[in-house]
């Protein structure tokens, strides 16, 4: 064991040369330099590769705006709704901060959906990036939990009834389900204890996400980014340093992202929300139809497509969890859909099907809509079921040896 150990080397103790002195004691500058500045990045990345850093920026924006909201928000069922109105009316710039946080949540999901779609299209989940992909799914799940609890905080009608419906899903767990739901609520219905704990969890989860993001980037930097050709890049000049090439490309991408984001913040802040959430929560009045936020709709559609509640809940959670095993379901050695004629078509079918699921999730669960949701749910899982077979029947186009 000890043969591999090199004792610490003596270093200069001249604090007048502060940069060197500090670096000898904590080499943070070279760490940042290696992982941001000099980090080797494939030179052929297209604009789909902008969404990773965009997601990071969206997360930081949520944390900063959220921090300022937390200074004025009151996590108490008697004060919560009014405190949001105080932020909107009386706090200097409160309306900007709240609109950014509200629209920011939606835009975070748009970015992450595109980011996941890019991984799916270019086979970024395949060996050796399975753990990187899995960590991404963990981030996605944490985001969903955070967003769900965040939507409860304004304590409007949709907050209350959305929370009631979704927490009730856990009651299907055999034997202990109903007790778990009561434990989660801190009472016999969604109430003040629920709101306080959701606030606490909503505040802390983003920092857990930051932690998993660091692991996600660690795993990325070990094998470097995948690229649109999906081939392993072996030559040194296939790579360019992250800075300045991708810093400037990401800054440009950020500008393109911020334009529609800003438009929503200043001109249509309520567009993606539900008017019912401007009605204070009332346990005695059930809204005509309880709809989750738009980014949950495809999964909500899967839940409602299946008439047996237990199976519906399983299908809903399964539809996300199945992504964890995707690297083993897809047996094809070729990563990029550019060289997989059948997979390419299947991918776009999957995307369209996912969008239809989102659309049908906002419709009432009756008549034709149920049938559509059932067909789309079957197609959703059918995509994953077809993947192992696909690798056998598909003839990939020849891969280039190098860029």
């Amino acid at each position: 064991m000890s043969s591999h150990f090199t004792p610490p080397q003596p270093v200069e103790n001249d604090i007048r040369n502060f940069g060197r002195w500090f670096e000898d004691r904590l080499p943070i500058a070279s760490f940042i330099g290696d992982h941001l500045g000099k980090y080797p990045t494939p030179r052929n990345l297209n604009y789909m590769w902008n969404f990773g850093s965009l997601a990071g920026i969206a997360l930081i924006l949520q944390i900063i705006t959220g921090l300022f909201l937390a200074m004025h928000y009151k996590g108490d069922i008697h004060l919560a709704f009014d405190s949001v109105q105080t932020i909107m009316r009386d706090i200097e710039w409160g309306w900007v901060i709240r609109n950014m946080h509200m629209v920011g949540a939606s835009f975070f999901f748009i970015v992450v959906y595109i980011h996941i779609g890019r991984g799916l299209y270019f086979g970024s989940y395949k060996s050796p990036r399975e753990v990187l992909w899995g960590l991404g799914i963990v981030i996605f799940l944490l985001m969903m939990a955070t967003a769900f609890m965040g939507y409860v905080l304004p304590w409007g009608q949709m907050s209350y009834w959305g929370a009631t419906v979704i927490t009730n899903l856990l009651s299907v767990i055999p034997f202990v389900g109903p007790d778990i739901v009561i434990w989660l609520w801190g009472g016999y219905s969604v109430g003040d204890p629920t709101l306080s704990r959701f606030y606490a969890i909503h505040f802390v989860l983003p920092f857990v996400i930051v932690g998993v993001v660091i692991l996600h980037i660690w795993a990325l930097h070990l094998h470097k980014s995948n690229n649109p050709l999906g081939i392993d890049l072996k030559k040194a000049d296939d790579y360019i340093p992250f800075h300045p090439y991708y810093t400037i490309k990401d800054i440009f991408g950020l500008g393109v992202y911020l334009i529609p984001f800003t438009f929503m913040v200043f001109f249509a802040p309520d567009y993606l929300g539900h008017p019912d959430n401007y009605i204070p929560a009332n346990p005695l009045v059930t809204p005509a139809h309880i709809v989750p936020e738009w980014y949950f709709l495809p999964f909500y559609a899967i839940l409602r497509a299946i008439p047996i509640k237990e199976l519906g809940v399983l299908a809903m959670f399964g539809s996300i969890l199945i992504l964890f095993v995707l690297p083993w379901l897809d047996r094809s050695p070729v990563r990029s859909a550019r060289f997989r004629p059948l997979y390419k078509q299947l991918f776009w079918l999957f995307v369209v099907n996912f969008l239809i699921l989102g659309w049908v999730g906002a419709k009432p669960a009756e008549g034709m809509y149920v049938t559509i949701a059932q067909i789309c749910t079957a197609l959703y899982f059918g995509f994953f079921a077809l993947l192992p077979v696909l690798a056998k029947v598909e003839k990939p186009r020849p891969l280039p040896a190098t860029l």
């Binding site: 030179r43 052929n44 109105q85 909107m88 009316r89 309306w95 900007v96 609109n99 009631t164 419906v165 009730n168 009651s171 109903p178 739901v181 219905s189 000049d237 360019i240 300045p244 090439y245 400037i248 490309k249 800054i251 440009f252 950020l254 500008g255 393109v256 911020l258 334009i259 800003t262 438009f263 913040v265 200043f266 001109f267 802040p269 309520d270 008017p275 019912d276 401007y278 009605i279 059930t286 005509a288 139809h289 309880i290 839940l303 409602r304 008439p307 509640k309 519906g312 009432p364 669960a365 009756e366 008549g367 149920v370 860029l403």
Partner: protein
């Protein structure tokens, strides 16, 4: 336990889609579009209807007289208005009716109106349509409510379900006298109160839109410059 199961059922069983109100006609509002602005006279008239008609039963609990200074009222104007209602200018616009009396009279406390235009699809269009939606015409009523209007409710074309607990508040012209001598027709009052309620629902609206224009111009220039810089930096990278 039973409630949990009920909610579960409501979730999975085909939910009865509650009867929607009729489609709302769209009106051109001064607070919409490129030249959007709060019209002080419009708001003043709307305020008159709100305080003299609506506030008999409803409150605007997020708004005070002082807030009117944000849309061009002077302090002395606001003082005078508040004094006329025996109110402090910093007090919120609350109805004189206490909750107990309201419950006894109507069965429940009439909802606060500050946020109503944000809490209903259609916003001001909804409020305006609702003020015009009352009807005694039996042919119209039967068309929407074949079973007749329930006891204690009133027919309204635009109310979801068409049976509303509120009697027609703008039952005829001349309910108020406007400061600017404008004739207080039902349509005029409905229009003005809808604008006033839009203001109480989102007083930040004009600040928001004004800032939005500058932020977008800034970002547009930023993005163009970023793109040009990107092109310069990437010039030496081999095309594949």
């Amino acid at each position: 336990m039973i409630r949990m199961m009920m909610v579960g059922l409501a979730l999975l069983a085909p939910a009865a889609w509650a009867g929607e109100g009729a489609a709302l006609p769209h009106k051109d509002w001064g607070f919409e579009g490129v030249r959007a602005t709060w019209d002080k006279d419009e708001l003043y008239r709307g305020y008159t209807v709100a305080t003299q008609v609506c506030m008999a039963c409803h409150s605007f609990k997020y708004v005070s007289h002082r807030d009117l200074m944000r849309v061009g009222f002077t302090e002395s104007e606001v003082q005078t208005l508040a004094k006329a209602l025996n109110m402090d200018m910093n007090a919120k616009l609350k109805t004189g009716m206490d909750d107990a009396t309201a419950k006894e009279t109507f069965g429940k406390v009439p909802p606060d109106l500050s946020l109503m235009n944000r809490a209903r699809p259609g916003g001001a269009d909804y409020t305006y349509a609702l003020m015009h939606g009352y009807s005694d015409d039996s042919a119209t009523i039967v068309k929407y409510l074949p079973g007749g209007v329930p006891q204690g409710a009133y027919f309204n074309t635009y109310y979801p379900g068409h049976a509303i607990a509120m009697a027609n508040p703008l039952s005829g012209p001349g309910l108020v006298t406007y400061h600017d001598g404008k004739e207080a027709t039902v349509d005029q009052m409905a229009h003005d109160v809808s604008v006033f309620m839009q203001w109480t629902a989102e007083p930040e609206r004009m600040d928001r839109q004004a800032w939005g224009v500058y932020v977008l111009i800034y970002l547009f220039i930023f993005t163009v410059l970023a793109y040009l810089t990107k092109r310069v930096i990437w010039k030496d990278v081999k095309k594949h």
